[in-house]
Symmetry: C2
Subunit: 267 residues, 2 copies
């Protein structure tokens, strides 16, 4: 397994692999890898990638000024071991300074699907996501890129960006991986106390037994969570749907203590 820190070297390697006819998969992550991430690498393998490039980069541009950029968990050594174990062929670990050069001034904005849900609560978040993902696409020349369904809105926004900007690659969305309790795997789960981790299961339980937005919201509040949003939307357009049913996605963002958790289910 190769590791790259310099974007120019990462790009050259991928360019050469690509010209050699190798099928490249990109798995973009912010590191602190868990089984959710490893399932993305598995998905890349199953789809026949010859090279699986995992990027590990906590992207400052997608964090708001009051968010957890500084404290976001990091463990490079463990990430490298997990990537190797899971079958990645290259890991890309750039620094923020190498990714955002002095006078960086170009951003990619998706202006439709990014508006609601997390986009409404985290201004600039998807601008940061689209920008860094566009950069990673250009640096790694993937035939396809794998994202997790846990970040449902993000996956839809990326799909739209790929379509609108004609990126020559496929977007693959892999299912949510959960703890035995149902809690969606997330690097941020590490912030949770044992008691919070217990209460947080109300989210996945509520989604699994979804009846109505009002009921789900009530259940979350009863479990002591602070609801950021509970919404039922069209799974493709992310437009609000009054009547939950086939083709809908129900999305939750809620604070458990100080930790913001998200989860969703497609009906």
């Amino acid at each position: 397994m190769r590791t790259f820190r310099d974007p120019a070297l990462m790009q050259r390697w991928c360019r050469e692999r690509k010209l050699a006819g190798r099928r490249i998969a990109l798995v973009p992550t912010m590191g602190f890898l868990h089984e959710g991430h490893l399932s993305l690498i598995e998905a890349a393998k199953r789809r026949g990638a010859d090279e699986i490039v995992v990027s590990v980069f906590v992207n400052p541009v997608q964090f708001g000024p009051k968010e957890d950029y500084a404290t976001y968990p990091r463990d490079e050594r463990s990430d490298l071991a997990k990537c190797r174990w899971a079958g990645a062929t290259a890991v890309f670990l750039p620094t923020p300074e190498n990714m955002y050069l002095p006078r960086h001034s170009t951003y990619v904005n998706e202006e439709d699907l990014s508006k609601g849900l997390c986009g409404a609560r985290r201004p600039g978040h998807f601008r940061g996501v689209c920008t860094v993902v566009a950069k990673l696409f250009n640096l790694t020349h993937p035939d396809f890129a794998v994202f997790g369904q846990k970040d449902y809105q993000q996956a839809q926004v990326i799909r739209r960006m790929v379509r609108d900007l004609n990126f020559d690659l496929d977007v693959v969305v892999a299912p949510i991986v959960r703890e035995d309790t149902g809690l969606a795997k997330s690097s941020r789960n590490t912030y949770l106390t044992e008691e919070e981790r217990d209460r947080a299961t109300a989210i996945s339980k509520g989604l699994a037994n979804f009846r109505s937005v009002a009921k789900l919201r009530r259940d979350l509040e009863r479990a002591g969570l602070k609801v950021d949003y509970v919404e039922c939307v069209d799974a493709g357009t992310l437009e609000p749907r009054k009547k939950p049913g086939k083709g809908c996605c129900v999305l939750v963002a809620a604070y458990c203590g100080k930790t913001r958790l998200i989860d969703n289910v497609v009906l």
Copy 2:
């Protein structure tokens, strides 16, 4: 010479050429080709391109609501003949509908170099330029792309975009091609009456004999042109420079009748 109208077919052809080891040059144009454009194709040849893809697309997104999108001159048959004659190996002529699908919602914004000069007078112009050029890059996988120095600010904005988003290609900027009178070649020159064409030469004459911004502005006004801007800026950062000198670029935008003309000189 191949012609493509469908973006997907253009992309497939370029992908295959690229994987076959061919060096691809992109020459993005809005058509109504003149010797300025043909010099870009020449520059691509000289730099050793195996495939020269000329795109001909009047990009609606870079025109303001009161600008000349509808009346911008078009002559597809002549453009194809000129491309063939100049040595293009492929011409890409998409429709606006194929370039901007329903619910198109992703745009590329350069937020520094785009702010002043034409960017200040044409809100949204460089957003449209960056978006369509990013799309063309992804559709044609060029090793390098050739732009004209006549659109000096555009060339700098594109360079920055390529750097910031890590597009894996070089930006080549080719010198301005002029009429015998000095007038910079432009598709919009076709709007000029004979009398206007004569008066318009004050721009190139003023730039060739540049002394000061004030004097140049006076000379343009004396020739009956309506000055949009005359600015002396740092050629790299586009920041205003009080003292003209080496490393400066002097840029002019002026109306000759109803036609907006631009020109520049690097000192």
